[in-house]
Amino acid sequence: MFNLFKNKNHEKENLDKLLAKSDDFKCIEYFNNKTNVSFTLKFLATLVDSKTIQESVLPYLLEENFKQIEDAKQIIPLADIQLSEDISQIEDKLFTGSVLLTVSGKENKFCFLGARKEIGRNVSLPEVEFSVIGPKESFVESLDQNLNLIRKRVPVKELIMEKLTVGTLSKTKVAILYIDGITNPENVNTVRQRIEDIEFDEITDSSYIVQIISDNQNSPFPQLLDTERPDRISAILAEGKVAIFVDGSPHALIGPTTLVEFFSSFEDYYLNWILSSFFRLIRLFAVVFSILVTPVYVATLSYHYELIPIDLMNTLVASRRAIPFPPILEALFLELTIELLREAGARLPTKVGQTIGIVGGIVIGTASVQAGLTSNILLIFIALAALASFTTPVYRIGNTIRLLRFPFLLFAEVWGLLGIVVCFCFLLTHLIRLTSLGRPYLEPLYPPRMQDLKDAFIRLSFDKQRKRPFLLNTKQPNRFHKKAAKYKKDIEDE
C-alpha cells in the first residue's frame, strides 16, 4: 500500500517526509570527536528502548574508534546489528523497533541496530482454560514469547515454525507450527495456502484468522480449536496437528479439529483415564441437557401432557396455574434473562460481575416466580441448563450452545417433540457437512473410526493410545513402539 513509489531515492525522501509528521520520529545527528565522524540516528521513540541507545549504542559510537559504518559491528555490543544498502528495508526495520544509523556523506550505506522496546505481560495463569492440575502457564500477546514456550516443550529440530505476514495495515506476523515427519503436509499446505490468501487490512487477533480461514463461515460452530495453554499445543503438535500463532493474540489455533475435541478439557489428560472418561461423559451429558431441556419442557407442556407421570402432574400444574403466558413465552423470557445476566457479567469487571450474577440470579429469579411470571420448575431447568453450558472447556463452543437452544425452542413450539427431531436432523446434517481444514468435523462419529474413539467420548489409558488420530492421516501413525509382547503374568508370578 505504501510502496507506491518506484524510485528508491524518492521513496526515502517521501518516507522521511511522512515520518516527520509523527512526533515520535527522532532524527538526531552526533559527532565523534575522536575520529571526526558525524553520524545520524533515526528511530521511532515509541518503539525503541531508550535505555539501550543510551547504554549500549551511544557511548560506543561517541567514544570508540568509529570511522566508518562497517565499524559499528565491532564496537557496539548488540546482538542484532545488520548492515544494508537496501533502502526498501528501512520502513520495515524502523517499524519493528530498529535504530537506523548512517554516517554523514555515505547515506547509501546504513546499519540497523535492534533496540526494540518490549512492552507486554509476563506469562501468567491461564484464565479461560484454568486447570487445577497441570502446568499453569498461558500464552501472552507476544509471538516470540509464545513460541519460546513451545520450543521449550518440544526441543527437537523437526518442530518447524513457518512465518507469514498478513494484513495490509496490521502486518501481523503469523507462525505455522508443525512437526516435520509427523504432520501430513497436506494439512500444512491447506493452512499455509489459506493464510496466504487472507485479504484483510487489520488482523488484531487469532479470532480473525479462525473466521476467515474456516471452511464454512456461515456456521455457528468454531472450526478451529483455540487454546491458551502451551501444554495443549505441544500435545496436539505431537498428535500431528497444525498450530497457528498470531502475534498479538494470546490464543493459538489448532486444526484440523473435531466437534468432540471441543468438549475435552486438557486437564483430562492429567487425570487417571477412568476419572477423565467419566468427566467427559458428564460434560457431554451436560451439553445435551443444556440444549434440549427447555425445548423438551416447552414441547411437553404445550403438546404432550400424556408424557408427564401422574405423580409429577400436581407439582407441574400447580406451579403453572397462575402464570398467564404460554410455555414458550415463559421459557423465552427466562432464557433471555439468563442471557442478559451472562452478557452483563461478561462485560463488567470481575468483582462487580459476580455481584450482578448473584443479585440477578437470586433476586430476579425469586421475584419472577413470586410475581407469577414464571414457574419455579422451569426456573430450575433453565438455571441447570445455564450451569451445564458452562461446563464446556472451550469457551467458544459454549457460545454456540447458547445459541443452538433458540432454534430448538422455536421448533418445539411449532411441532412439539416432532419439531425437536426435525431441528435435530437439521443440526445433524449441518454437522455432517461441516469440515475443518477439509477433514470431517464429526469424526470419529461420522465417518465412524474406532481408532479415534479411544480419545473422544472417553479417554483410554496412554498405553492404548499407541496410534495417532486416523483423522490426520499422519506420516508416522505410531506414537511409540509397542514393547515386545508382554508376558501375561499369572496371579502369583513375579
Binding site: 464454512n216 400436581n314 400444574v317 411449532v414 411441532w415
Partner: protein, 358 residues
C-alpha cells in the same frame, strides 16, 4: 452457501403462519383421570368423570362431572359443556363400570373408544364397582386424588397381594385370545371415603357372569398368573399359621388326549408370618406344608369345576391346549372337549423361613 440460520428462521416463519397444530397446554386443559359408567336404561348410560384440580402446596381436589348419553364419546362431548377448560383423555388411569351395567349391557361397547384412542395408554386399570360408580367417585380418597388412589390400590394389590394382574391391555388380550375368559377386579365403597377390592368378576362377551370371592382370590391368582404372591391361612390340629407365599409359579402340562387331561404343577415358596400354636417344630412345618398343598388342590379343583360348569375359562385351558395341538378346532372344544377336560393339580409347597423367633 446457504446459511442454516437463515433457513431455520424462514422455515419457522412459514410454519408459524400456516402450519401450526392444535396445542394442549398443560394448565389450560382438564385432565380426566378416571371415568365411571352407570346403567340407566337399555339405551342410555350415566358417565361420571373425575377431574383433579391441582392446587399449590395442597393435595389435588377431585371434581366429578356426570352426564347421560348413549356412547362414551358423547359423554365426553356433554361434559365439555360443563368444564372451563377442554377435557382431554390422555392421562386416564381407571375405568369403572357399575355392576348393573356390566350385567345388563356389558362393557365391550364402552371399551372400544379407549382402545381406539391413541392418546390413551394401555396400562390403565379396569374395574367393576359393586354399587354405583357415581357415588364411589364422589368420595375423596387419599391425598393424591381419587383416580390415583384407585390405581395405586390395585397396583400394590397386584404386586404384593392376591389380585391377579389386570389392566386394559391384559383385558383385551384375554378377550381376543380364543379359549380365554377375561376378568376384572371388583371394587366396593365401604364408607364415605373408603373402598376395598371385594372380588374378581369374570366377563363373558363383556358381561359379568361370575364372581370370585376374596377368599378364593389367592387360589385364583395361583391358577391365572404365572408368578404370584399373597397370603393364605393354613389350619392344622396344632394351630393356625399365616403363610405368605413369596414366590409361586405354575406350569401346565398336557398329560393325555381323548379325553384331554391337563396337569397343573403349582409351586409355592412360602414363609410363616404368624403361628397360633404352641411350638413350631419341623414336624409342624411339614404338616403345614401338607395341609397347604391339600388346600390348594381342593380349592383349585373347586374353582375349575365351577368354571367348567359355567363354560368359563379364565385360566386359559383352551388356549393352552390349542398351543399343543395342530389344526385345533375351537368349536369342538367349546361344545364337547372342555366339558370332558380332566384337570389334575400337583402342588408343591415349601416353607423356607419362619421369622426371627423359634
Amino acid at each position: 452457501m446457504r446459511s442454516i440460520l437463515k433457513l431455520i428462521a424462514s422455515v419457522f416463519l412459514a410454519l408459524n403462519l400456516i402450519g401450526c397444530v392444535k396445542k394442549e397446554v398443560l394448565d389450560d386443559i382438564s385432565l380426566i383421570e378416571g371415568i365411571g359408567f352407570d346403567y340407566i336404561d337399555k339405551k342410555n348410560i350415566l358417565g361420571t368423570v373425575v377431574i383433579p384440580v391441582y392446587l399449590p402446596d395442597q393435595p389435588p381436589k377431585s371434581n366429578t362431572f356426570s352426564t347421560k348419553a348413549e356412547i362414551t364419546k358423547s359423554i365426553l362431548q356433554d361434559i365439555q359443556r360443563q368444564t372451563a377448560d377442554p377435557i382431554v383423555t390422555g392421562s386416564i388411569e381407571v375405568l369403572l363400570f357399575s355392576k348393573t351395567l356390566t350385567e345388563k349391557l356389558g362393557i365391550l361397547p364402552l371399551v372400544d373408544a379407549f382402545q381406539r384412542d391413541p392418546s390413551i395408554g394401555s396400562g390403565l386399570y379396569l374395574a367393576m364397582v359393586d354399587g354405583e360408580t357415581k357415588e364411589l367417585l364422589a368420595g375423596q380418597y387419599g391425598i393424591r386424588g381419587t383416580a390415583t388412589y384407585i390405581s395405586k390400590l390395585m397396583e400394590h394389590n397386584i404386586r404384593n397381594e392376591d389380585l391377579p394382574k389386570s389392566n386394559l391391555e391384559l383385558f383385551l388380550t384375554d378377550f381376543y385370545q380364543e379359549g380365554k375368559t377375561p376378568f376384572i377386579p371388583q371394587l366396593k365403597q365401604i364408607g364415605k371415603n373408603k373402598m376395598e377390592i371385594n372380588g374378581i368378576s369374570l366377563l363373558k362377551h363383556g358381561k359379568m357372569v361370575d364372581l370370585i370371592e376374596p377368599k378364593e382370590m389367592f387360589f385364583f391368582k395361583l391358577l391365572v398368573d404365572k408368578y404370584s404372591e399373597g397370603m393364605h391361612l393354613v389350619k392344622i390340629d396344632s394351630g393356625e399359621a399365616a403363610v405368605r407365599s413369596i414366590h409361586s409359579s405354575h406350569n401346565f402340562e398336557l398329560t393325555k388326549r381323548n379325553p384331554t387331561e391337563v396337569t397343573i404343577h403349582i409351586k409355592v415358596d412360602g414363609i410363616i408370618n404368624e403361628f397360633t400354636g404352641q411350638e413350631l417344630t419341623p414336624k409342624t412345618i411339614e404338616g403345614l406344608q401338607k395341609q397347604f398343598e391339600k388346600d390348594i388342590k381342593k380349592e383349585s379343583l373347586k374353582l375349575i369345576k365351577r368354571f367348567k360348569d359355567k363354560q368359563l375359562d379364565p385360566i386359559g385351558f383352551g388356549h393352552f391346549v390349542k398351543t399343543q395341538t395342530r389344526n385345533f378346532d375351537f368349536n369342538n372344544w367349546r361344545k364337547n372337549q372342555y366339558k370332558d377336560l380332566v384337570v389334575k393339580i400337583k402342588a408343591d409347597v415349601k416353607i423356607s423361613e419362619s421369622g426371627v423367633i423359634e
